[in-house]
C-alpha cells in the first residue's frame, strides 16, 4: 500500500506553518508519502450530533484513498481515531456500509475496506524505523526530558484503533527517545487533554489541561510532545492563559511530534510554527551540529 497524507482541519486553521512543515519533515526522513487532494473533514465533530454524517465523511476519505490504492496517514490523533472508528463501523454495520457506498456512487467512489488510516507514528516506526532514525538524528536531544502525550483517540477504544497497549503504550516514547531525549513517566500521561470541551465547557476543559501541565512539571519535563495537534493547541492555549493569570507556574511548553522531529532535523522554528520563547533555554539544538548529523550540506 502506498501512503497519502491526510490534512487535519484544526491544523490548517491554527497551525498552518506546522502543517506545511510536515511535508518537509516527511521528505527529510525519506518516507514516501504522497500529497492527497479532495478530502473532507474526518467527521470527528459530527460523531455526537450526526453519526451518519460522521461515517459518511470518514468513509469518503477512505474511499478516496482506496481509489489511489493508498492508506491515509495522519499526524492528528483525532483524525486517526475517528477514521479508525468509521472503518470498524463500516465493517460491522452492513446498513451503514450500504448507505455510505450508495452515497459515494455519486462521485464514482467505493469503499470496500482495503484502505485504512495510519498514524504518522506507526509509519515512522516501520520506515525508517527506530535504528535508522537514531542514526539520522544523532541524539540531538540527549539530556532533554520529554513528557509524551498520545491523545485519547490514538489509544482508545483499543479494540477499534489497535494502536498500542492502551494502559502502557510505548510507540511514541520509542520515537521520542530516538531523538536522544528521555521520555519521563508522568502520572497524567494517558489522561485526556480536555480539548473536545473547549467552547462547550471551558472550565472543565481547562482544568483537565491544567492537571496535565502540573503533572508534566512535577515529572520535570522540558516539553510535552503530543501525537495530536488538537492536544498541542489545548496545552499551549491553557499554558498561555494560566501563565497570564497566575504567573509563571505553568511553564512546560508543548510541541507536536512533527515539530519535535522538525527541530531534531534542524528545521527553523519559524518554519515549524514554534514560539521559541516558551521553550527552555538551549532546547533548540545548535543548527550546525544537527546539519552535520543529518548530512545536509
Amino acid at each position: 500500500m502506498s501512503l497519502v497524507i491526510f490534512p487535519c482541519c484544526v491544523s490548517s486553521s491554527f497551525m498552518g506553518d506546522c502543517e506545511s512543515a510536515t511535508r518537509v519533515v516527511i521528505d527529510k526522513l525519506g518516507v514516501e508519502i504522497e500529497d492527497g487532494s479532495g478530502f473532507n473533514c474526518c467527521g470527528y465533530p459530527y460523531k455526537g450530533v450526526d453519526f451518519k454524517a460522521f461515517v459518511l465523511m470518514s468513509g469518503r476519505n477512505l474511499a478516496l484513498a482506496e481509489k489511489k490504492g493508498a492508506d491515509l496517514v495522519t499526524t492528528c490523533g483525532c483524525c486517526f481515531g475517528t477514521t479508525k472508528q468509521a472503518e470498524s463501523v463500516l465493517k460491522e454495520d452492513s446498513g451503514l456500509f450500504e448507505y455510505v457506498n450508495d452515497a459515494l456512487k455519486k462521485e464514482g467512489l467505493v469503499y470496500t475496506g482495503k484502505s485504512t488510516a495510519r498514524h504518522f507514528i506507526e509509519v515512522l516506526l516501520s520506515n525508517p524505523g527506530i535504528p535508522s532514525l537514531k542514526d539520522k538524528l544523532g541524539g540531538v536531544f540527549s539530556g532533554k526530558k520529554v513528557a509524551t502525550h498520545y491523545g485519547c483517540k490514538v489509544l482508545r477504544p483499543s479494540s477499534v484503533v489497535k494502536f498500542d497497549n492502551p494502559f502502557s503504550p510505548t510507540k511514541l516514547d520509542d520515537l521520542v527517545e530516538a531523538t536522544g531525549a528521555e521520555s519521563v513517566s508522568w502520572s497524567q500521561k494517558l489522561e485526556c487533554c480536555g480539548a473536545p470541551l473547549m467552547g462547550v465547557n471551558d472550565v472543565t476543559s481547562m482544568q483537565l489541561a491544567k492537571n496535565k501541565l502540573e503533572s508534566a512539571k512535577q515529572a520535570k519535563a522540558d516539553v510535552i510532545c503530543t501525537a495530536c495537534p488538537f492536544c498541542y493547541l489545548q496545552f499551549e492555549r491553557t499554558r498561555d492563559i494560566l501563565s497570564r493569570e497566575s504567573g509563571n507556574g505553568f511553564n512546560v511548553p508543548s510541541l507536536s511530534l512533527v515539530q519535535l522531529l522538525g527541530l531534531a532535523l534542524g528545521l527553523d522554528k519559524g518554519t515549524l510554527g514554534i514560539n521559541g520563547a516558551a521553550l527552555p533555554p538551549g532546547f533548540i539544538p545548535a543548527s550546525r551540529n544537527v546539519r552535520a548529523a543529518v548530512g545536509v550540506s
Binding site: 490548517s12 465533530p45 450530533v49 467552547g199
Partner: protein, 587 residues
C-alpha cells in the same frame, strides 16, 4: 442627445454607484456596532498611510502584481479558470484601451493611427477572439455538469450576457460595414473624389472581388483589366489608410456568412441601429458596473492587496470590520470555496437546507445592510455556518484572497446572539469559538451552549418519572438511536462504578454528583430505566470528553462512551426537528 452626453451620464451613474458602494464599506457591518462610519474612515486612512510607509509595502506591491494583475492565486487554484478569466480580462482591457478609447490612447503610442490600418484592424479581432474564447470556456464551465459546482445565479448570467452582447454586436456591426456598398461609396466620395467614373467602378469591382463588399450593380467574374485598374486605384486612394478587410479575420468571416442578405443591412438606419446597440450596451455595462459582479474589477484587487498586509492579530479592529464589507463586494461567485468545502459532499447527500460558502455571500450582503433577515434566511445561514468544520480550505483557495473563515466567524457570532437554539454548538465544532474566545463578548460566549442544553432538556422534560417508563411514545426515543442503545448494550452493567472512577471529567470536580447531575455509572442506570428526562437533562451527557477511559476499563465491556455518543445523537436529532418546526411557525 449627443453621444458624449450619453457617455457622461453612464460615467456619472458609474461614479455615483461606486461612491455609494464604497460608502457601504464604512457604514455596514456584520453586527458590530463598535465603530461609527467616521471612525472607520479615519482608521482606514491611518491604516493606508501606515502601510505605505512600512516594510509591508513590498508585500503589498507583490500581491498587487502577482495575484491581482496576473491573477497568480487563481492560476495556482485552477489553470482552466485562469485561462478563461485572463482571456476575458486581458482581451477586454486591450479592446477598451485600443478600441473604445483608441482615439485617445493609440496616438500616444503610434504616430500614424487609423482604426482601419494594421495593427489596429487585426488586433481588434485578435483581442475579440480572446474574449470570445474566454466567454465560451466560462459558459462551458457553467453548463458542464459538475456535482461540486455551485449553481449559476442571475448575476453570473448577466455578466456573461453583457460581455457576449457587446462582442456580438461589435462583430456584427463590423461585418455589416465590410459588406456595405453604401459605406464603400461614402468612403470613395471622401477619399477618392477625384477619380473618374470608370476608375471608381473598377475600384468597386476590386473591393467586391477582394474585400467582401456586396454590390447590387456589380457582380463577378470581373475582367483582369478591370481588376488591375481597381488595384491601381486602390493603391492610390485607399491602401495608405485601409488594410485589407481580411485582417479583421473574425469580422470578415461573419461578413461572408451574411453576404446573401447583405442588402437588408445596407443603409444608414440598420447600421446606426447596430452601432447604437453596441454603443449603448457598452454604456449599460459601464453604468451598471458598480451594482454588478463586474465591480470585482476594482474590489477583488483591493481585497487581494488588503489581505496581503492585514491580519486579525495586528490590524485595527475598525479596519477589520471595513475589510469584511469590502470582501463581500469582492466575491465573484466563482464557486472555488464551495468546490473545496469540507462539507460540500456531505451537503449534497444530506441536504439540511444549509448553504454552501459561495451561496452564503448574497444573504450576507443583505445581513450587512442591517435590514432584518427573514427567519428562514437566518436559519439557513446559521445552519450552514454552524456545520462548518473550519478547515480553512475556502480561505486558502479563494482567488481574490477573501478571508472567508473570518467572515463566517463574524456572522456566526452575530446569528448566535439571536436566541434560536443551535445544537451544533455542543459538538467539537465549538472548539473554533473556544480558540477565539478573546474576540467574543463575555456575555455572549456561554449563552449558545446554555440555550442548546436547555432546548434539549425541555424536549425530554415531559418524559417524567414516575411516568410509565415503557410507554410506546417514550420508546420512540430509541427510533433514532444507534445499535448499542437499541440493543441495550449496557444491560450487562452492574454499577461497579469503575467507569466513574476512570472518568477524568468526574475527577475535575469537588462534588461531581452535584456538578454533573449523573455520574457515568448512574447515567447507564438511568438509560436502563428509560429515565429520559434525567438522561437528557444531565450535564454529564454533554461534559463527556469522549476519552474512552470508561469503556477501556469496564469489566463488562459496556461501550459506555459509544452509548453517550448515541444518546447525544438522539438528543440532537429529536430536538433539531422541534427547533426548526418552531422557527418555521415563526415565519
Amino acid at each position: 442627445m449627443s453621444k458624449a452626453t450619453m457617455v457622461y451620464i453612464a460615467l456619472l451613474i458609474c461614479c455615483a454607484g461606486t461612491a455609494f458602494k464604497v460608502s457601504t464599506w464604512f457604514r455596514y457591518s456584520l453586527g458590530s456596532k463598535k465603530f461609527t462610519a467616521l471612525e472607520r474612515v479615519s482608521a482606514a486612512v491611518r491604516g493606508i498611510l501606515l502601510t505605505v510607509f512600512s516594510p509591508k509595502f513590498p508585500t503589498l506591491l507583490k500581491a498587487f502584481f502577482v495575484d491581482a494583475i496576473l491573477q497568480g492565486k487563481l492560476f495556482r487554484v485552477s489553470a482552466r479558470k485562469w485561462t478563461a478569466h485572463f482571456l476575458i480580462f486581458g482581451g477586454f482591457t486591450m479592446l477598451l484601451l485600443m478600441h473604445a478609447l483608441g482615439n485617445y490612447v493609440n496616438p500616444l503610442v503610434f504616430s500614424n493611427y487609423y482604426a482601419t490600418l494594421n495593427p489596429f484592424l487585426f488586433l481588434r479581432n485578435f483581442f475579440g477572439v480572446f474574449v470570445i474564447i474566454g466567454l465560451a470556456i466560462a459558459v462551458y464551465n457553467r453548463m458542464h455538469r459538475d456535482p461540486n459546482r455551485p449553481p449559476t445565479n442571475s448575476m453570473d448570467v448577466y455578466t456573461i450576457l453583457i460581455f457576449a452582447a457587446i462582442m456580438v454586436s461589435g462583430i456584427f456591426l463590423e461585418s455589416v460595414k465590410i459588406t456595405s456598398i453604401s459605406v464603400f461609396r461614402d468612403m470613395t466620395e471622401e477619399y477618392a473624389a477625384g477619380e473618374e467614373e470608370d476608375s471608381l467602378k473598377a475600384l468597386e469591382a476590386y473591393w467586391v472581388e477582394n474585400y467582401g463588399v456586396v454590390s447590387p450593380q456589380l457582380a463577378g467574374p470581373f475582367s483582369p483589366e478591370m481588376l488591375a485598374a481597381g488595384k491601381a486605384s486602390n493603391s492610390a486612394n485607399c491602401a495608405q489608410c485601409h488594410a485589407p478587410a481580411q485582417w479583421a479575420f473574425m469580422d470578415y468571416g461573419v461578413s461572408r456568412l451574411i453576404t446573401p442578405v447583405a442588402g437588408w443591412f445596407d443603409g444608414a438606419p440598420a447600421r446606426s441601429a447596430l452601432y447604437y446597440a453596441h454603443f449603448l450596451l457598452c454604456l449599460l455595462g459601464l453604468a451598471y458596473l458598480p451594482f454588478s459582479k463586474v465591480f470585482h474589477l476594482f474590489t477583488s484587487p483591493l481585497s487581494i492587496v488588503v489581505n496581503s498586509v492585514m491580519d486579525r492579530a495586528h490590524s485595527d479592529p475598525a479596519n477589520l470590520v471595513t475589510k469584511q464589507m469590502l470582501e463581500l463586494d469582492a466575491c465573484t461567485h466563482c464557486g472555488m470555496c464551495t468546490r473545496h468545502c469540507s462539507m460540500a459532499f456531505i451537503t449534497s447527500i444530506m441536504p439540511k437546507g444549509h448553504t454552501l460558502p459561495s451561496e452564503r455571500m448574497s444573504p450576507l450582503k443583505l445581513l450587512a445592510t442591517g435590514r432584518p433577515l427573514s427567519a428562514r434566511d437566518s436559519l439557513v445561514i446559521q445552519e450552514g455556518l454552524s456545520h462548518c468544520t473550519n478547515c480553512t480550505q475556502c480561505t486558502i483557495v479563494c482567488p481574490v484572497g477573501i478571508n472567508l473563515q473570518d467572515l463566517w466567524f463574524s456572522v456566526r457570532e452575530t446569528l448566535l446572539e439571536r436566541d434560536v437554539p443551535n445544537l451544533q454548538v455542543l459538538s467539537p465544532c465549538s472548539v473554533y469559538r473556544g480558540m477565539r474566545k478573546d474576540e467574543i463578548d463575555d456575555a455572549c460566549y456561554n449563552r449558545p451552549v446554555i440555550n442548546a442544553r436547555k432546548a434539549i432538556a425541555e424536549r425530554f422534560g415531559s418524559f417524567h418519572w414516575p411516568g410509565t417508563a415503557y410507554a410506546p411514545s417514550e420508546e420512540k426515543v430509541l427510533d433514532t438511536a444507534g445499535v448499542h442503545l437499541k440493543h441495550s448494550a449496557n444491560a450487562a452493567c452492574f454499577s461497579c462504578v469503575t467507569c466513574t472512577n476512570a472518568c477524568p471529567v468526574v475527577r475535575t470536580h469537588q462534588q461531581p454528583a452535584a456538578a454533573l447531575d449523573l455520574l457515568p455509572h448512574q447515567l447507564m442506570q438511568a438509560v436502563k430505566l428509560r429515565l429520559w428526562d434525567v438522561v437528557f437533562g444531565s450535564k454529564m451527557l454533554w461534559d463527556c470528553v469522549g476519552c474512552y477511559q470508561c469503556q477501556e476499563y469496564c469489566p463488562m465491556s459496556v461501550p459506555i462512551a459509544d452509548l453517550i455518543f448515541e444518546l447525544r445523537n438522539v438528543a440532537v436529532s429529536s430536538t433539531a426537528g422541534d427547533i426548526s418546526q418552531k422557527a418555521q411557525e415563526n415565519l
